[in-house]
Amino acid sequence: MPLLKVTDLRTHFHTRNGVYRAVDGISFQLERGETLGIVGESGSGKSVTGYSLMGLVPQPPGRIEGGTAIFDGVNLLHSPPATLRAIRGKRISMIFQDPMTSLNPYLRIGDQLIEPLLIHEKISKPDALKRTLAMLEAVGINDAQARLRSYPHEFSGGMRQRVMIAMSLITKPELLIADEPTTALDVTVQAQILELIKKMQRELGMAVIFITHDLGVVAGLCDRVLVMYAGRVVESAATRTLFHHPRHPYTLALQRSIPSTQPKGSELFTIPGMPPDVSKPIPGCAFAPRCAHANEFCATLDPKLVTIANDHEQACLRVQASEI
């Protein structure tokens, strides 16, 4: 049985300007210990997917319109709050993009770190402190004992992200949702944080959902990848397959627009146009208006995610018809 099985998740935002279908029917599953990458551009719905699983979608204007997310037998989308409280922050935890805003500036690091332990576990305060200290050392913070009494502003960006990671892993979760945890950091610090996530994953055996727009990060970290576009999954495959044999035109285009994959100074491949407005109805394939291979059927027929090879699904009608 998979650790997490998401089926037809739909999260919409009801605003004065219309209904934004941020996540519009995505399905995937995750085994224990597996690392799943979710890639896509801004507005593709990758972060909202993470927020939906954690119950962090502000409601209203957000609304989970349908679908299930079964985590070890519990539906994360429709369960009593008490059941969910026992899971979120203990068995599933999340780290965010911006370590500057996701820590409470008024509380000492030690007080913030110890909170999940005191809430979720029957543990005495001295024991909890001991674990907090060990955790801070495990994420590579020197002089941890003294640092417990520091405030977030006394740390650098990379250090704050380490504290965030320590806080999210202190309850030894089975699933970590990482929403662009290294996007705001320098490459050298990014390398440190990625190594740290890998090390902690080995030690705790947890599964990771890694949300990012950086294909390079995915290449080094993930077992499987979902590519999202306009709130839907357009392709899903094992990492090697996705990088070496991408089939969906969007995945191909995304790969070809990275400068490091192209000869220096050459004109970079660009995807014409812009992602669609998800508040308007999108007939047919959402990528069709920007796709070089689109024909008249693409603009009318709704593409479905279809398995084309072992553990490789994609949602392009023309690929499915073996035309391209």
Partner: protein, 330 residues
């Protein structure tokens, strides 16, 4: 080195930009100095793209602002076609603005939300009286076409455009006065990959077509390598390596450049999973009390006693300049 080297259009001579740190309210006194830029000499040739890379806090944005004279220099000179910008009245700086323009990182913050595209693009034309008022509309239309925007959007406001389109407007604004040099401070960092590629193509195209010289600042080395002719690597206010983009990024020599290049994830799982990565420990030291000697010695795997004292100058080594005393040994 090629025989006929184009003359430099912009020269930086031992630029120092320091910021004083004050403490106290009634009895304010200076308690320290942030040496954001500390002795940088560079030259930009006509028609050249010079990439400037480094981590946050290394002083690359301060250097950009110093070139633009948006912050006062503590020492050194900025020469634009031989004219020293650091000495001179504000009126002469105003003149220089025509030749020297800047594009900023965040197109959401660098455009005035209350000004239409027309107002934004016509302002420099009117202030500098570059064309008769009757021709302003036509000029603004040309500028928009130049950056790939339809002139019919002239009366729209910034919020009606996407991030990539806003960056195009910011570039059009920088081009309005037909400058000779553009300083672009992280112009693509806030954009998605597919949009980033569009803006990079546009900048490369403008450099070719209009004979612009460009100082291109970014932290993404693959982007910098793609667009730049030469690359300068900064660490704690100083240049540590300077050479052609392919030399510096494909065959880095300074231990810091090596670590920086090695930290970029490669978008190929077969390569990314087996390659040896140099992971630097800790963060860069504070520019308030930078370490003596080579500023990088605190994080460098090759550091010796000799690295901890004295000034480490840039020296020629393998077609480039490197500020490391152990070049050749490591």
């Amino acid at each position: 080195m090629p025989a006929a080297m184009p003359e430099p259009i912009l020269e930086l001579k031992d630029i120092k930009t320091h910021f004083p740190i004050h403490r106290g309210f009634l009895f304010r006194k200076q308690v320290g100095t942030v040496k954001a830029v500390d002795g940088v000499s560079l030259s930009l040739r006509r028609g050249e793209v010079l990439g400037l890379v480094g981590e946050s806090g290394c002083g690359k944005s301060t250097l950009a602002r110093t070139i633009m004279q948006l912050v006062p220099t503590t020492g050194g000179a900025v020469l634009l076609e031989g004219k020293n910008l650091t000495q001179g009245s504000s009126a002469s700086v105003q003149d220089i603005r025509r030749d020297l323009q800047m594009v900023f990182q965040d197109p959401y913050a660098s455009l005035n939300p209350r000004m239409t595209v027309f107002a934004t693009l016509s302002e420099p034309l009117l202030v500098h009286k570059v064309c008769p008022p009757g021709e302003v509309v036509a000029r603004v239309g040309q500028l928009m076409e130049l950056v790939g925007l339809a002139p019919r959007f002239m009366e729209k406001y910034p919020h009606e455009f996407s991030g990539g389109q806003r960056q195009r407007i910011a570039i059009a604004r920088a081009l309005a006065l037909q400058p000779k040099v553009i300083v672009a401070d992280e112009p693509v960092s806030a954009l998605d990959v597919s949009i980033q590629a569009q803006i990079l193509n546009l900048l490369a195209d403008l450099v070719r077509k209009m004979g612009l010289s460009l100082v291109f600042i970014a932290h993404d080395l693959s982007v910098v390598k793609h667009i730049s002719d030469r690359v300068a690597v900064m660490y704690l206010g100083k240049i540590v390596e300077l050479g052609s983009a392919t030399d510096v990024i494909d065959h880095p020599q300074h231990p810091y450049t090596r670590a920086l290049v090695s930290a970029i994830p490669v978008p190929d799982p077969d390569v990314e999973r087996v390659r040896q990565r140099i992971v630097l420990a800790g963060d860069p030291p504070s520019p308030i009390n930078p370490p003596f000697g080579c500023a990088f010695h605190t994080r460098c795997a090759f550091a010796q006693e000799q690295c901890k004292t004295g000034m480490i100058p840039l020296k020629s080594f393998l077609n480039r300049e490197v500020a490391c005393v152990r070049m050749g040994e490591i």
